[in-house]
């Protein structure tokens, strides 16, 4: 009998305590809360922390200028720890319980897809700022009316990169290439895209070997020796952040960099800060570079960020900045925070921003941005670290992107 009481008491007591406070929050009367979720812990925490840094700078700037529709904005930051089911929960919590009226989704790819489904159900305005996987906006089945992407895109990168690299390969007579990319969806898909366009621009391209280390793999030794043995003239790698840093250090002791040319889109300030002995002459894209575009506005951003956070910006930083610039312009135009109204204003919108090729970036009809600065150059051990930067040809990028979308049956 006492067993009955114990269990029932616990159940109802439990239910009562669950009803208590923590899930109900009241937003302060006038403040406009903007939900931001990202990966703030673990090996890839820099993605989230640099996004947050940039957003805090934008928060100050926007509030100094009067906020959105006369209301001061305030970010609510959440850490999904890179777990998609947690990302989905957080989106719902931010909108339903914390009273956020706009969303900035700074998750990486898998989280972004999870958030997309929740946004589809909720109908709130959301800008994805860090996911580079094309299908998020290119695939009509995945696209959502109120969700947009302000970030680099894998397929744009692939076209721009292969255009530059085919020119470079022709000039230096490098026909035999090897690839080394992290073995996960983004690594595989983007490498396939790069190779597809690369072969188009340079038909005599020969891939001697492909290496596929695991994302986060600490030891690349067997991969490095395999690559060296295949005797390619050049290596294309999509490794990034900590993996790229480890790969460079391990490659150095095998003198890999003296045996082949190396190309990667991923030498950015964090990699440069970590590796003290970066070999010169690596062909790299500029994910964010203070000197590209070579404008005072861009340099000002870089310096302001460095001063405030004691580290240099990443592409995640500029992407989140531009997202806020888009929100600012769209909300002003729509004069509303309603998801549909903001979405209507954002579609096709063109804004002035330091990170565009010609000082502007456009949000296309398929909810993703174009005309952002993509450049390729080569590394050098001292400032500005990447030199001889050539800007990509956006006309060509869009032409080939359209073909690719047709191939994938997205249009």
């Amino acid at each position: 009998m006492s067993e009955l009481i114990t269990r029932r008491t616990m159940l109802t007591g439990g239910a009562a305590s669950l009803l208590a406070a923590p899930w109900v929050a009241r937003a302060q009367a006038n403040t406009l809360r903007i939900g931001m979720q990202s990966i703030l812990s673990g090996p890839i925490a820099l993605l989230g922390t640099s996004s947050r840094n940039a957003l805090l700078m934008e928060q100050d700037r926007i509030n100094a200028a009067g906020g959105f529709l006369g209301r001061p904005i305030e970010f609510v930051f959440r850490d999904s720890k890179g777990q998609p089911q947690e990302a989905a929960r957080l989106t719902r919590e931010l909108v339903n319980s914390t009273g956020c009226e706009l969303l900035i989704d700074a998750e990486a790819s898998s989280g972004a897809f999870a958030v997309q489904e929740v946004v589809r159900d909720l109908g709130v305005a959301c800008i994805h700022t860090n996911s580079e996987t094309s299908s998020l906006t290119a695939d009509p089945k995945i696209r959502v009316p109120t969700a947009f992407r302000v970030a680099r895109q894998g397929v744009h990168d692939a076209v721009a990169g292969s255009m530059y690299l085919s020119g470079y390969a022709d000039a230096k007579k490098l026909n035999k290439w090897a690839t080394c990319s992290p073995d996960y969806a983004y690594g595989r898909d983007t490498t396939a895209q790069y190779l597809q366009f690369f072969k188009q621009f340079k038909p005599d391209l020969e891939i001697t070997t492909e290496a596929w280390p695991k994302l986060g793999q600490p030891d690349f030794t067997e991969v490095i020796t395999k690559l060296i043995q295949a005797k390619p003239q050049a290596l294309f790698t999509l490794l990034y952040a900590g993996d790229l840093s480890a790969f460079v250090n391990q490659g150095n002791i095998y003198a890999l960099f003296s045996q082949m040319a190396v190309a990667t889109p991923n030498v950015d300030y964090p990699v440069l800060a970590a590796i003290k002995t970066l070999p010169p002459g690596i062909q790299s894209a500029t994910r964010y570079l203070e000197t590209f575009p070579d404008t005072p506005a861009n340099r000002e951003f870089g310096q302001a960020y460095l001063k405030r956070w004691n580290e240099r910006p990443t592409n995640w930083a500029w992407q989140n900045t531009v997202a806020m610039q888009f929100y600012e312009a769209a909300i002003k135009k729509a004069n509303s925070l309603d998801g549909k109204a903001v979405a209507a204003a954002l579609t096709g919108m063109k804004i002035n921003t330091p990170f565009g090729v010609d000082g502007t970036i456009t949000m296309r009809d398929d909810h993703t941005i174009i005309n952002y600065a993509i450049g390729w150059g080569q590394t050098t051990p001292k400032e500005p670290f990447i030199i001889d930067v050539k800007a990509a040809d956006w006309g060509k990028i869009i032409e080939l992107e359209t073909e690719w979308k047709k191939q994938q049956k997205y249009i």
Partner: protein
């Protein structure tokens, strides 16, 4: 799957030698990292799920020490001693309270430490990744030994790992301390009744196990990235090595590490996108044929 490439490699002497050498390097590094787990389990029958954290902290301490003293040797020493001390604290404060308990309770305690220190590292050193860089003494071109490429730094690491294998193996089976420690693991009350301070003994074992993990972290730091949460992948690797080799057998861990090294060395050629799946299949196969691991004792 690229079986043609694998076949081509296996029939080319140069390729066989090179990939075997890199398999050897990978294997010895794996053993170096896993040695601490094997020791602690072999002696105390405790699975140290916090092993990755010792490794991570060893790497970070070495990184900071190198920055402060500009001496790699001192950095390695600092990391080893710091982690030995941490091992003692960990054992005294936490592990000693769960000695008799369910293995899951021990797992819980270790995992709590992992969670706590992943955040501590993030608070102290920041969320971004760091790289120590190769100490100037090792910034030399690779050696060519018997047709295989061996970077001097790895040659040193292999030497250290082999030395540790020898010392641990011989130490546990032949020295008085080793025998006492093993006896205490089997029946601590008896050993204690014989006048041995088992408390001190167990603390020493954790000091050595922790110190080994810290040493591995410091030695690997020049070539790997430091970031919060880096202990995770190392933990899994160490477990695979320990389980395949036989829980508690140093010789087993060495052989298992080399087997995995070879699987990776040639797997990356034949199965570039499924190399880790291959390793799990090998692990399952070995456990089915010999559940106690290669050199483990069947219970």
């Amino acid at each position: 799957m690229d079986l043609d490439a694998l076949g081509a490699c296996l029939t080319t002497p140069a390729c066989v030698v090179t990939q075997t050498t890199s398999g050897l390097i990978v294997g010895m590094l794996l053993f170096l990292v896993a040695a601490g787990v094997t020791l602690i389990f072999g002696v105390l029958k405790i699975v140290n799920f916090a092993h990755g954290t010792f490794y991570m902290l060893g790497g970070y301490v070495a990184y900071t020490a190198l920055g402060a003293t500009d001496s790699y040797a001192l950095a390695v020493l600092a990391a080893t001693l710091a982690m030995a001390l941490f091992g003692i604290l960990f054992e005294r404060a936490l592990i000693s309270r769960v000695y008799g308990s369910n293995v899951l309770m021990q797992l819980l305690v270790c995992y709590a430490v992992v969670l706590i220190f992943d955040d501590v590292v993030k608070i102290v050193w920041g969320p971004e990744f760091h790289a120590m860089g190769m100490p100037p003494a090792f910034q030399v071109p690779p050696l060519f030994i018997a047709g295989g490429v061996v970077p001097p730094f790895y040659a040193v690491l292999i030497g250290v790992a082999a030395l540790i294998a020898l010392v641990l193996g011989v130490g546990l089976s032949m020295t008085r301390l080793g025998k006492t420690v093993r006896a205490a693991a089997i029946n601590s009350q008896m050993v204690s009744a014989l006048g041995v301070n088992t408390t001190l003994l167990f603390a020493i074992v954790f000091a050595i196990g922790g110190g080994l993990a810290g040493l591995a972290g410091a030695l690997a730091a020049p070539v790997r990235s430091l970031s919060p949460g880096m202990g995770f992948s190392v933990l899994i690797e160490s477990f695979i090595v320990t389980v395949i080799g036989g829980m508690g057998s140093i010789a087993g861990a060495l052989v298992a590490a080399l087997v995995i090294g070879m699987v990776r060395g040639f797997g990356t050629i034949g199965f570039p996108q499924f190399t880790d799946g291959l390793i799990y299949i090998v692990m399952i196969a070995i456990l089915l044929l010999r559940p106690q691991g290669l050199f483990g004792r069947s219970s």
